[in-house]
């Protein structure tokens, strides 16, 4: 009997449950998708060097999921609480009719179970389809072709999803039982009637607060633009504090300010329902500005995280081809005082059982010198006090040097025309950072000589040459000096590393694997000269390795960004939607009055639309402004990693955001109208 009642209740209040149901379904789907990465089809297609990245990602997702499930748990309890509040009277009637509290709890239990199971099933179905899409995205990020498509279902992820959400639903049920047992009958029956005192803020105060909020936001923007995210100092801290306070004040005062503004134009204020709509918004904002502030900041975080994360990774990806012009780079460093003759790297490879000639078509061994100069001390020796801001992050990195004939030979390996010529005391400057050289060029145009390793060199070419002499994961050699061959070890300090660049023959896949193993150290320090016991290091970096690594980071950043961002997004949207819907129930009387005095249905719908639109859009609008400033500043940081257009990735973020947010908006709008419609005029 009781369960029959529950079934009927759920069926009857489908409209009330829409937002709750959408939220649960989204939550389940997203949870399933990101926990099923490990068992997706893509795992079979990736090669052995790519797979570890996905395994790390899979583990990472598991850890993040714990945090996510806590967030979702709170959200679901909040949403459930809203529904219970709305049904106070109904529950009161059950109790008056003599139903025990256990009975009422049982009804709620069955209802929660029903909705839970339903949303789990639908959410999992949606999730299974979405996870196929995620496989395709992963394949694209790793640049592998998915030749055949298998529909894969992850049992592990399903069990995990059911388990996690099972626990959440259990909490909801417990929460319901406690809530019901604590209510007094009189509260339940008169739950709908509460003496709401209307808080109205003085409009002049609102105007002052609004001006204050705009000022503090302006100052916050100014400070963060000055700070450039380069130092976590008091400037940065103040920007955060002023930004948060400004946002809070903004929502606190906006409606009052807008009301004052509209009121000043009688034509606008006394037009159709404008007066009512403005007052309506004003009366609500006064009570909900805190949640609007939270929502705005959450949206800002989502947009910022997604677009900056995507920006950094696309930057890495853009640069990867430029930074790895050789099939493989091998590098050893050792104490050159102990080993006088340079070891021959090729023979050392062969000694450890690698058939060098079988894999390698073309190779070259050379040295890179590191006399200990940094950009900072070179500049100060040249009499220049301060580096431009753009150069600051590289100020203390060592500036390396290479011989001009070595450079020419390496350029030849890249298929370029290498014929640089240097006279004594001349040098050429190189950089492996393509996008920032205007700064440096400008800098060195003023100064035609540089001090290096105890000697002064004349800069031969007008601009810095963007050339890469070693494979690397990201730009490392911001400034490199090309010296005449005989000047390399002429200075007081002659520390060097021994390098070998090589290109693979034909089909490089096998060779790739052989050499990639050396990088991860699985084969041990095989390039170590025999009998040498001093300090030693060995790196072998293949082109494919770097590409995979970048794809791995890219995938991780995108997945984590989407996962957390998406959860934040549905949390914000759901809270906003539920708040609006509970307002709708409280405001039913007002709309009834409007209808009675003959206001057209269309005008009422318009008024509701404007209210909800403003409610959803103001936090989004301010979040977007925050983000524009944030992304503008973050672009400087992203630039460290390489050239990227964060704006493009932001467009992707925006699209995703609009779909989810829009769905909630529509659900709220129709839900709001339904709540108002449910009562006839009589």
């Amino acid at each position: 009997m009781l369960s029959k009642l529950s079934f009927r209740n759920v069926k009857r209040s489908v409209k009330d449950y829409t937002v709750y149901f959408i939220t649960l379904t989204f939550a389940v789907a997203i949870f399933f998708v990101f926990n099923s990465i490990g068992s997706q089809e893509i795992m079979n297609i990736l090669n052995e060097s790519q797979r570890p990245y996905l395994e790390i990602l899979d583990n990472l997702m598991s850890s993040i999921s714990v945090f996510i499930s806590v967030v979702l748990g709170f959200l679901i309890i909040f949403a459930n609480n809203f529904l219970i509040k709305k049904r106070k009277k109904e529950l009161g009637i059950y109790t008056t009719l003599g139903m025990s509290k256990t009975g009422v709890s049982f009804i709620l239990f069955i209802e929660t179970l029903l909705i839970g199971v339903l949303s789990l099933v639908v959410g999992l179905l949606v999730g299974i389809f979405l996870s196929q899409g995620l496989s395709l995205l992963t394949a694209k990020l790793f640049d592998v072709a998915m030749t055949e498509f298998h529909f894969v279902f992850s049992l592990d992820a399903m069990v995990k999803t059911v388990l996690y959400f099972g626990v959440i639903f259990l909490c909801v049920i417990l929460f319901n039982i406690i809530t019901v047992s604590r209510y007094k009958l009189i509260d339940l029956i008169y739950g709908g009637r509460k003496n709401q005192t209307l808080k109205t803020r003085n409009l002049t105060v609102s105007v002052i607060l609004f001006i204050l909020s705009v000022i503090s936001l302006g100052v916050a923007y100014y400070l963060i633009i000055q700070n450039k995210l380069m130092a976590f100092d008091s400037q940065f801290l103040w920007s955060l504090i002023l930004g948060a306070v400004g946002t809070l004040l903004f929502f606190m005062s906006l409606s009052g300010f807008a009301l004052k503004l509209v009121k000043s134009s009688k034509r606008l204020y006394f037009r159709k329902l404008n007066m009512f709509t403005m007052r309506q918004i004003n009366s609500k904002v006064n009570t909900t500005f805190i949640s609007m502030t939270m929502i705005c900041l959450m949206l800002f975080l989502t947009i910022g995280m997604l677009s900056t994360g995507l920006g950094i990774t696309t930057a890495l990806k853009n640069d990867v081809k430029f930074l790895t012009p050789y099939g493989v780079t091998a590098q050893i460093s050792y104490d050159s005082n102990e080993i006088k003759d340079d070891p021959d790297l090729k023979s050392m490879f062969e000694k450890s059982g690698i058939d060098f000639d079988q894999y390698i078509e073309d190779y070259y061994q050379y040295k890179i010198y590191q006399p200990g100069d940094t950009m900072e001390n070179m500049m100060s020796e040249a009499g220049l006090e301060k580096l431009p801001d753009a150069l600051q992050p590289w100020a203390t990195m060592p500036v390396l040097s290479i011989g001009v004939s070595d450079l020419n030979r390496l350029l030849e390996m890249q298929g370029k025309d290498g014929n640089y010529q240097l006279e004594e005391n001349q040098c050429i400057l190189l950089t492996d950072k393509r996008d920032l050289d205007p700064y440096v060029n400008e800098y060195f145009a003023q100064n035609r000589t540089v001090p290096y390793n105890g000697q002064e060199y004349e800069i031969k070419l007008d601009s810095i040459q963007p050339e890469v002499v070693v494979n690397s994961y990201q730009s490392m050699n911001y400034l490199m000096v090309v010296l005449p061959d005989d000047k390399l070890d002429a200075g007081p300090n002659n520390e060097f590393t021994l390098m070998l660049n090589a290109n693979f023959k034909g089909d490089a896949e096998k060779a790739e694997k052989v050499f990639a193993d050396l990088n991860s150290g699985r084969s041990g320090l095989i390039l170590k000269p025999e009998g040498y016991e001093g300090p030693f290091s060995q790196y072998v970096i293949t082109q494919q390795d770097v590409i995979n690594n970048t794809a791995g980071i890219l995938t991780m950043a995108i997945f984590i960004g989407i996962y957390i961002g998406f959860v934040f997004l549905i949390t914000s949207a759901a809270v906003l939607a539920l708040q609006q819907l509970s307002e709708a129930a409280d405001n039913r009387q007002r709309y009834l009055i409007l209808r009675k005095i003959g206001v057209e249905e269309k005008m009422i719908s318009q008024s509701i639309f404007i209210q909800i639109f403003i409610y959803f859009c103001i936090p989004l609008f301010l979040a977007i402004i925050h983000s524009v400033v944030g992304i503008y500043v973050a672009n400087n940081v992203v630039a460290i990693f390489g050239k990227s257009d964060t704006w493009i990735t932001s467009a992707f973020t925006g699209g995703l955001l609009l779909v989810v947010y829009g769905l909630y908006f529509l659900a709220t709008y129709t839900g709001y109208k339904n709540i108002l419609k449910s009562k006839s005029l009589v």
Binding site: T197, K272, G598
Partner: protein, 255 residues
């Protein structure tokens, strides 16, 4: 005087075949322009149903209702709300003022939804506020006003659009006796000086004694009609009490 309302053989049924309630049972009457008519009857007699049907909030089962010559029983929902805001004014027992708006704005709302110009709105609201002696409370919100003030603001909202007919449903029901008296005097003013046609539902004999004519309803039918004529209010009141006791029913409701 021209006829403003004609109720022709109206029936209103509630329920289904097995359990039919006739809230209105073949009722007919007319109201002329400039009249102040009362409708009396015990609880459940159908007086509120009658008012709801006339005010187009509810629909009739059978019969026709004409207001200012228009047959309102054949109007479509869209036309109904247009008709309601242009031809009718409403005064409710529980005021039905919007708590977010000031008194001035509540009155102005009736005009803004008619898309009147701000100048006209200002002029009309000021005029009606003077008539009803509420100029002093125009800037206040409903929660800052007394019940009597609220009901006079509601009356101002009802009358400000110059409706053909003002419908009042137990307007004194939530007021103390002094406020009720003041409100009824306001109604008299509206009726006499502005020529407003008022139809008021009440079950209070004192309230009814302000009317010119009273229709008594019992079990959904017109039971009796009383015309004040040249009687003083006291005499009219006594006559009303007589009819009410004749009506039988629940006397506690009446006095």
């Amino acid at each position: 005087m021209s006829e403003i309302l004609r109720v022709e053989d109206v029936e209103k049924y509630y329920g289904n075949k097995g359990n039919l309630t006739k809230a209105l049972n073949h009722i007919s009457f007319t109201v002329d322009s400039g009249e102040f008519v009362g409708v009396m009857g015990a609880s459940g007699s159908g007086k509120t149903t009658l008012l709801n049907c006339i005010s187009t909030i509810d629909t009739v089962t059978n019969g026709r209702i004409f207001i200012g010559g228009d047959n309102i029983t054949s109007l479509k929902p869209r036309q109904l709300s247009k008709f309601r805001r242009e031809q009718l004014g409403f005064i409710f027992q529980d005021f039905n003022l919007l708590d977010t708006l000031t008194a001035y704005e509540n009155i102005a709302l009736a005009l803004t939804i008619l898309k009147r110009s701000p100048k006209e709105i200002e002029r009309k609201v000021d005029a009606v506020a003077r008539q009803l002696d509420i100029t002093g409370v125009l800037k206040k919100y409903p929660y800052q006003m007394s019940g009597g003030q609220k009901q006079r603001v509601a009356s101002a909202r009802a009358i400000v659009t110059d409706p053909a007919l003002v419908l009042a449903d137990e307007p004194t029901g939530a007021l103390d006796s002094k406020s009720a008296q003041m409100l009824l005097e306001s109604f008299e003013t509206l009726n006499k000086t502005l020529g407003a046609t008022i139809m008021m539902v009440t079950h209070d004999a004192f309230t009814a004694s302000y009317c010119h004519r009273i229709l008594f309803i019992k079990d959904g039918k017109l039971f009796h009609e009383l015309i004040r004529g040249t009687d003083t209010r006291k005499q009219f009141f006594d006559k009303i009490i007589e009819v009410v006791s004749l009506l039988g029913g629940d006397n506690r409701d009446v006095i």
